[in-house]
Every structure is written in structure tokens, then in C-alpha cells.
Symmetry: C2
Subunit: 205 residues, 2 copies
């Protein structure tokens, strides 16, 4: 069976990416060593460099890989919902760090900050980041457009502009929540997001 080997390779590749993402969220990008990733996979450090040309490339790939994984899972879930209000509420809930028991969300936001820092000096990652961020704003704008076709939301401001506004609001609040700010609890963030979204969109969310 010719597929066994290629598949094996692919799995190892992914396995390393997943392990790297987890190590990064645990220890932070700056404190992530190749041997940490190797330990997490149960292999030797040499093997990591066998699959990835350098630590840097691995880290960049891991950051975008993880973000992709979370995004796709979210998009799949939202697509199954008919109501735009439900979609928007769910998107908000998924965006609040620590609101839902599924604590992978915490990881996602921590990875975002690492991406931002690194993208400041790494042109390759900077390019990827823009794609990821655009996709994030887009998914909000799409919900707004969907709500307007279903009649849940009134016509109004440009949907893409709204996507940018709400996306930025969520980003900013998520940072505070992620930092464990005593004034910005997950529940408060949820309430604020709903309230501002309602005002900007012009319909109760």
C-alpha cells in the first residue's frame, strides 16, 4: 500500500505542528524550545529538524496552522445555523476567552498575540496575518449580510465596515479578558459585545 508512507509522513508533520502550538500556548513563543516540542511528541529533537528546515519556519507554520484549525471549526458550526442572530451570538460566545468550558479558546487568543508580536518583524508572517485577520472580519460581515437577506437586520452601514468595527471591538475586549482584567470579566465582555452590536447593527442581538 503506497499510501501508508505518505500518510505517515503527513501525520508526523501535523503531529509536530499540533505539539508546537500547544507548547507555544503553554510556555510562550519566546520560551519554546525545539526539545520541548520533541518531548511533547515523544521523539528526539533531531526529528523535528528533519521535518522542518528551521525552528523559525516551524513556529510560523504552527501559529497559522492552529489559527486555521480554530477558524474552520467555527465556520463549520456557524454555517449550520439559519438565524443570523444565532450566528452572531454564537460567534461572540466563541470569541470570549474563558466563557465556554472549552478552554481551547484561551489558547487561540494567546496565539493571536504571539502572531501580532512576531508579525511586526517577520514579513512572511505579516502577510499570513493579514489573510487571517481579513477572514475574521469577513465572517462577521457575512453574518450581517445574511441577517439582512433574512430580514433579521435592517439595511444600513456597509457590512464590511461593520465587520471591521465589531471585529476590532472583540479583539480589544478579548485582550483584556485574556489578561484576567478584574474589570473585564467574560460575562461583561459578552454583554458589551451584544449591546454594541445591537446598536451598530440596529437590531437586538
Amino acid at each position: 500500500m503506497a499510501k501508508t508512507r505518505p500518510k505517515q509522513t503527513k501525520d508526523r508533520h501535523q503531529e509536530i505542528l499540533v505539539a508546537a502550538a500547544r507548547v507555544i500556548t503553554d510556555r510562550g513563543l519566546a520560551e519554546t524550545r525545539i526539545s520541548d516540542i520533541a518531548d511533547r511528541c515523544g521523539v528526539s529533537p533531531g526529528l523535528i529538524l528533519y521535518y522542518f528546515d528551521s525552528k523559525d519556519r516551524l513556529l510560523v507554520e504552527a501559529l497559522t496552522y492552529a489559527n486555521d484549525k480554530y477558524y474552520l471549526a467555527q465556520a463549520r458550526e456557524l454555517r449550520r445555523m439559519d438565524s443570523a442572530v444565532d450566528q452572531l451570538r454564537r460567534l461572540i460566545d466563541l470569541s470570549v476567552p474563558g466563557l465556554l468550558p472549552d478552554y481551547e479558546r484561551l489558547e487561540e487568543w494567546a496565539l493571536w498575540i504571539e502572531i501580532w508580536v512576531r508579525a511586526l518583524r517577520d514579513p512572511a508572517l505579516a502577510k499570513e496575518r493579514e489573510v487571517l485577520d481579513r477572514r475574521w472580519r469577513q465572517s462577521i460581515a457575512d453574518i450581517v449580510r445574511h441577517g439582512r437577506t433574512t430580514g433579521e437586520f435592517p439595511e444600513g452601514e456597509d457590512a464590511d465596515e461593520l465587520g471591521m468595527e465589531l471585529g476590532a471591538l472583540i479583539d480589544g475586549l478579548a485582550i483584556q479578558v485574556l489578561m484576567n482584567d478584574t474589570q473585564v470579566s467574560p460575562e461583561r465582555m459578552q454583554g458589551t459585545c451584544r449591546s454594541v452590536a445591537s446598536k451598530l447593527i440596529g437590531a437586538e442581538v
Copy 2:
């Protein structure tokens, strides 16, 4: 003259902090070496450790020192204005990375991201960050309150809540602008901030 020595010492302390902040914005926190800071000051690496117990402490102090400097300059400027609308507009303009020629603003935001990343794992810095962030939201809330006493803004939602909302919006947008996102130009961020602020406050800004 007894003042020469104490003053000299103080200057050296500050000089190092300033140099450290600049190196951090240039190279990134992760790539900042003691010798870089020493070079920037034109002194030997040993002297840096003579004034600061460790690299870590120096870096944390530099991050908050720089933030403080920017905040105080901004607060002083805003205090001199009578109109809350003027204050809010100015605060927005000062917050848009790269809008004003004074490019120190770019540095400030880059430092914020470094603070966030590091605060995730450094409890001491986490505590400082909360103070700094609270002060930031507070300054917006104060403008709202001021505008309500002068009659420029109508009564409405809790001023502190508004401070959190607008603060988060600005944070989120500033990240995109700082990253050089092609869809989020400085001018667009400025327009969006004014427009959202107007809607949430209930008066044209």
C-alpha cells in the same frame, strides 16, 4: 555642587530605560540583548547590570516607563482643552498609529503588544498592565463625563462602560493599523473611531 552626582545617576537610570524602550521597539523584546542597550547608551554591557539587577527587571521597567511617558504627555495635553469633543478627537488622533507625523505613537503601540505577550506569563507585569489599561479606559470615560457636564454629550450609558467600549475599539483597530493592514489605513481608523464614538455617545464627534 552636590547635585551633579545624584543628577548624573538619575540621568543614567533614565537614559538606560529610554535606550531599552527604543531597542525593544526596534528589535522586539525577544531580540533585545543587554549589549544592544549598552551600545545605544554608548557604555559597556557591565554598566547596565550595575544599574539594574537583571535583564528581566530592566525590561519590565522600561516597558512601563515608556508607556507612562506617553500617557502623561497625552493627559497633559488633553487637560488643557475645554471642549470634550476636542479632547475626544485629539485622543483618537493620538491613538491612530502613524496618523500624526510624530512617529513615537508607532512605538507606543508596539510596546503595548510586547506588554501583553509578556504579561501572560509574568505576574508582576500583569499587575502593572492592569493599572495602565485601566488608566487608559479611565481617560476616555473622563472625557465622556466632562462632555456631559458641559452639555456637549447627552446623558446615557454609564461613562465607564463607554470607556471600555471605545478603548477596546481603539485597541483592536490600532493593532490592524500597526500591522500595516491594507484594509485598515490610519485615515480609515480615524473615521471609524469618530463614527462609532458618535453613535455610542449620542453626539457628533
